[in-house]
Symmetry: C2
């Protein structure tokens, strides 16, 4: 049976049920650890599932921040003040550790140490990467758009560097994340595998008939 849920139905739900529904219904998503450091050199980690492709020329990646949420707030303030942050894709092998980053730690606690993950630095880049992650992207704070409707912020970052397993990078530039063993997200708390992916050919104005498996 098909069910219709109206705006009014959503408003009547308790906040946890509404959050689970609205967060899970729009599709599978990327789930990453965001790494930052504060001015005192304390490293911070937080799980984000709001990565979005903004453009490739120049290479830009967007992320939703909740500036007023205690745990994510550290990430926001660190990224904004230092200008640098990293996104690190997840694998099952360190998922339990990554999930610990959802805990609320005081600002002076390194969440790498608290979670049992290893910080990794790249020369000239002011934010820590997660050593356990096979696919890591270093971003530079580019522009911020405060969302009037709910007080969150959409932040666009410029891609400064990418680390990935060489064998996952195809000759056409496509990164095979299935081979990299990284996880997809569903809702705010679901982690799972994805793929295999059928790649469909670009069509200008002609119908496409077949694809290739990646």
């Amino acid at each position: 049976m098909e069910k219709r849920i109206s705006r009014e139905d959503l408003q009547r739900m308790d906040r946890w049920t509404r959050a689970a529904l609205v967060n899970s219904v729009p599709g599978f998503k990327s789930v990453v650890l965001v790494g930052t450091a504060n001015a005192a050199g304390v490293n911070n980690l937080a799980v984000f599932n709001s990565v979005v492709h903004v453009g490739s020329n120049p290479p830009l990646i967007g992320l939703m921040f909740r500036p007023r949420t205690a745990d994510v707030g550290h990430t926001y303030h660190n990224a904004k003040s230092t200008g640098y942050y990293t996104i690190n894709l997840l694998q099952f092998g360190f998922l339990d550790a990554a999930h610990q980053a959802s805990s609320k730690y005081p600002e002076h606690v390194s969440e790498f140490e608290a979670c049992g993950l290893q910080a990794l630095f790249s020369p000239g880049f002011a934010a820590p990467y997660v050593a356990e992650s096979p696919v890591r992207i270093g971003l530079r704070w580019q522009e911020e758009h405060p969302i009037a409707a709910n007080g969150t912020s959409f932040v666009v970052g410029a891609v400064e560097e990418i680390f990935l397993p060489e064998e996952c990078l195809g000759p056409d530039g496509f990164v095979n994340l299935v081979d990299a063993g990284v996880l997809a997200g569903s809702g705010g708390d679901g982690y799972g595998p994805a793929g295999p992916f059928l790649r469909l050919p670009y069509i200008g104005s002609e119908p496409a008939k077949s694809g290739s498996l990646a």
Copy 2:
């Protein structure tokens, strides 16, 4: 072997390789058909893979638009002028048809007819849904944020209504998209299954030890 790709390496790539890399590397994503209608009642469809959760109270979903791209441009102008648009999750059963929406059709052509998909209307809602899609969300244009870095626009939509298979809606609000048979995206042209998903319990300040399978 691990490979590092710098900003300069990216700049040296041809635009297709760079686009494939930057679009695929940040993780799996949602892939949807966006449905709109213009003032003359001509229905438009386009494939988007830039859905992002903005918030649940009020329920808000973000989408990246490329206003100057011919095919996506129709969607942008229709959504902005009518104030309504729909997102419709994909299944393998109509993937080939959905992919046809990537073709560039003239503005007077209904892309539903051109793709062989059926338009479905909901009372009082000015944009068409895709009848073949099991999970459909009606959005009202809420706020637009032009991205200075590349001329795209981040648009936040308010959730007006949701249609989904009743059996996929859990008692806690989590929508089981695996049971709904919808696809994940990878890069700009990859379509595949995802799951099963392990749901990890919310942690305040205590370590989490186990999860449940969804």
